[in-house]
């Protein structure tokens, strides 16, 4: 507290003023603890008292009573142990302090001795600081460790004792409302007990290593709990924080009655969180600037050495890598293929990885690397793309596809032929039935003609025999009948001719339709064939899909078109499931606005987001690689933001890529 004497000065002042009383107390204590002496003294006192009371044989009676009185005094001392402890505290407290100080001194000496045996950097710096300041090394090291840990801070409405807000690091055992009530009760008790009338307040409560530091105004109480030795600045910090709180929230807190509106509560929470952080920072020890300068000098020396060594190492590695590139250039069939040369510092070897066209190229490249670099080349990461095997596989697949199409065509031709034969048979049946019906009509007509001719003969005969009259009567009618029959015959022949003509026309139309149908079938074949080829090869399907697929983002990692993305992710997951050996690289991009570092992390975040979607759709995580390429391969022109650049694309991971 301000104005308070240092402990040692206060102790000296107290001794100066009260040394006589202290000596008397010491003598009294010595006599009380000596039972025989106590009994003697009490006996004398009792004897005098009994004499005064005119009791006969007072001395003998006193001898009997004295032990009981002494026993009572001892019992009283036992019952008043706390009072005795309080009375003795000034003496024992000093002894304990001296003992603790002595123990600490010996601990520091012992620590110094042990620290001297080892020389890590931290200790060297501590020794330098100890030499410069004249303090023991152990004390320097102890001072560098965190000395005070603030656990929670409470803002309390003083008149009601209700908690306004509590900000804590982690869970706290004691309820904030109860703690607030207890603290206000303690303050009330202290004010009443000391009759302070608002002139002062309790500033600190401590118990063991824990302490509560208080700052109070008439309306508010700010309490900070912590463990360890509190920094000196804590009281001023709390007073300042309370003044700030009153200034910022005084209006809201003045008439606090147990509830606070949400906005005010949020602002107070932020202020208390900041205060807790500030006190926690106070509790951490600060390094001396001299230490920092030494550190800086050592760091500069280290950087200089590191840079020199780095330059030498870079030159040497560049030479090794150049030899590896020369080996790659020796193999013409490796040109145009992705071959990566990289130095591996772990075992100082040059790692050559990637793809070459075929097995022959691979063997040639391995031999060239062995010539150039000997054991320092590691070509285990190289693989051949198997173009020779691929060509053979493609030829075989084409043969199979051609056979399948031939078979399909033969089946279709056969089906068409059968259909045509069926139609032709049906037509022939129809034509035969028509001809048959016409033949029957013709036969009946011939019979009728024959009958008419017979009748005419009979008429002529009758005319010859004198029936001329009859002949003249029927001659005209018979002539008409003959004419009618001839007309009927002509019509019938015309019908037969029409039927025959119509049958011929229908057969001709059918043949023509069949030719058209067959042509159309061939056209369809030509269009279907490449599609069939792709459909039969899931890897080609996947490659086709990956080449055109992209996910666009409206902002940060927010999807621009979630339904479309879901459809795309499901399609890719389905294709990946059909091609088990293939891995997918998810490549994130960003638009050019903002800092390069931020764009790199943003593009990576987008790739990670899509990877998460694919994983959720059932794709194994180890099959998905991600990379953020920021503003590489932009789709939009100009330097401003463009949604076309905020995207994720896909690539098939190359065979053999680690």
């Amino acid at each position: 507290m301000p104005g308070e004497l240092p402990a040692d000065d206060a102790e000296r002042l107290r001794l100066l003023l009260l040394w006589r009383e202290q000596e008397r107390l010491d003598r009294l204590e010595a006599r009380i603890l000596d039972a025989a002496a106590a009994r003697g003294t009490v006996r004398e006192v009792v004897v005098d008292a009994l004499k005064d009371a005119q009791v006969a044989d007072a001395r003998r009676l006193a001898g009997v009573i004295a032990p009981a009185v002494v026993s009572s005094i001892h019992a009283e001392i036992r019952n008043s142990r706390d009072m005795m402890v309080d009375a003795l505290y000034p003496i024992t407290g000093r002894m304990v302090s001296a003992a603790v100080r002595d123990a600490f001194q010996r601990l520091l000496i012992e620590l110094d001795r042990r620290i001297a045996g080892t020389l890590p950097f931290e200790r060297i710096s501590a020794r330098i600081e100890a030499l410069m300041t004249g303090k023991p090394v152990a004390q320097v090291l102890l001072r560098r460790n965190p000395s005070f840990l603030a656990t929670d801070v409470l803002l309390i409405h003083r008149s009601t004792g209700l908690l306004i807000h509590r900000e804590a690091d982690g869970a706290q055992a004691l309820d904030g409302d109860v703690l607030s009530g207890l603290l206000t009760a303690i303050l009330g008790f202290a004010a009443d007990a000391f009759g302070a009338d608002g002139a002062g307040d309790v500033k600190t409560l401590s118990f063991g290593a824990s302490s509560v530091h208080l700052a109070a105004s008439p309306a508010l109480l700010l309490a900070l709990r912590g463990e360890g030795a509190a920094p000196q600045a804590i009281a001023a910090t709390l007073d300042g924080a309370l003044a700030d709180l009153i200034e910022a929230h005084g209006a809201a807190l003045g008439d606090f009655s147990g509830t606070l509106d949400e906005a005010a509560a949020e602002r107070i929470q932020l202020d208390l969180r900041a205060l807790l952080g500030l006190v926690q920072a106070l509790g951490r020890p600060k390094r001396k600037q001299t230490g920092a300068l030494i550190m800086l000098a050592l760091l500069a020396a280290g950087i200089a050495g590191f840079l020199g060594y780095g330059w030498y190492e870079r030159s040497r590695v560049a030479g090794l890598e150049a030899r590896a590139h020369a080996a790659v250039a020796e193999v013409p069939s490796a040109r145009g293929w992705p071959v990566i040369v990289q130095h591996r510092s772990r075992d100082d070897r040059v790692v050559v990885s990637g793809l070459v066209a075929d097995q022959a190229s691979l063997v040639a490249l391995q031999a060239a690397l062995a010539r150039q670099l000997g054991d320092q080349a590691d070509a285990t990461g190289l693989a051949d793309a198997g173009t020779d095997r691929l060509a053979a596989a493609v030829a075989a697949a084409e043969g199979k596809a051609a056979a399948a199409v031939t078979m399909l065509r033969a089946d279709q031709q056969q089906a068409l032929t059968a259909q045509e034969a069926a139609w032709r048979a049906a037509l022939a049946t129809q034509d035969a039935a028509a001809t048959q019906r016409l033949t029957a009509v013709a036969e009946r007509l011939e019979g009728l003609e024959r009958n008419v001719a017979g009748a005419i003969g009979m008429v002529e005969q009758a005319a010859g025999s004198g029936l001329d009259a009859l002949g003249s009567r029927f001659g005209g009618a018979l002539s008409d009948l003959g004419g009618a029959l001839a007309q009927l015959r002509r019509e019938l022949e015309a019908d037969i001719a029409r039927v025959a003509e119509r049958s011929e026309g229908r057969a001709s139309d059918l043949a023509s339709a069949l030719v058209d149908y067959s042509r159309e079938l061939q056209t369809l074949d030509a269009r279907v064939r490449p599609l069939e080829d792709i459909a039969a090869d899931p890897q080609r399907l996947l490659a086709e899909a990956v080449a055109v697929a992209a996910v666009f983002f409206s902002d940060e990692d927010v999807l621009a078109d979630p339904p479309h993305t879901t459809e795309l992710v499901e399609q890719l997951a389905g294709l990946l499931a059909e091609v088990p050996g293939v891995r997918l690289r998810i490549v994130g991009f960003s638009d050019p606005t903002g800092r390069a570092g931020l764009n790199a992390s943003l593009s990576q975040a987008r790739a990670d987001r899509v990877r998460g979607l694919l994983t959720a759709a059932g794709v194994a995580p180890e099959r998905l690689l991600t990379v953020g390429r920021a503003t590489e391969r932009r789709l939009a022109a100009g330097t401003g933001p463009n949604p076309r650049d905020r995207r994720v694309e896909f690539e098939l991971v190359r065979v053999g890529e680690p």
Partner: protein, 167 residues
């Protein structure tokens, strides 16, 4: 949730702590323990009409002029004033406590209880004639911390009065 401070006032040994323990913990301990200074409990009554955090200050019993009493009462939203059914001499003190409370915090609600109702069986006890009933025109509740009779109602009634007063 809103929190309100409630103080327990009454003579020495009338059962203020027992009433609080019965209400908050649902317990009764026949062994008597004197309260020194103040005990503070926090309780949210699940059976209350409206949820309210009650911070109950169970204050050491005694005269209304006792030191520190004013300090403990300050800021309370309501008071429970308690007397003893077996000790009529504690009844006039209830009025002293009521006067003290209303003098410090005018307009704040209070409820009165005559406790140890279970031990008053067979005694002639006219609640309407008690000094507190005369002073407030409202008879006190006859409560029993032992059986729990009328204890929750006592505190819930006070909660309702606090909310109705807009405190």
């Amino acid at each position: 949730m809103a929190a309100r401070k409630i103080v327990m006032l009454g003579g020495f040994g009338v059962g203020k702590t027992s009433l609080v323990r019965r209400y908050v913990l649902g317990q009764f301990d026949a062994r008597y323990k004197v309260t020194l200074g103040v005990n503070i409990y926090k309780f949210t009554d699940p059976g209350a009409d409206e949820p309210l955090d009650l911070v109950l200050w169970d204050i050491e019993g005694g005269e209304a002029k006792a030191p520190l009493l004013k300090t403990y009462i300050m800021g309370a939203a309501g008071a429970v004033i308690v007397g003893d059914a077996t000790r009529p001499d504690t009844h006039p003190l209830m009025v002293d406590h009521l006067d003290l409370f209303q003098g410090l915090l005018p307009g704040r609600p209070s409820v009165a209880a005559i406790n140890k109702g279970d031990m008053a069986a067979g005694r002639a006890l006219d609640l309407a004639a008690t000094p507190i009933a005369v002073a407030t025109s409202e008879p006190p509740r006859l409560t029993s911390a032992l059986s729990g009779t009328a204890v929750p109602d006592l505190f819930r009634d006070l909660s309702r009065r606090i909310l109705a007063a807009g405190l």
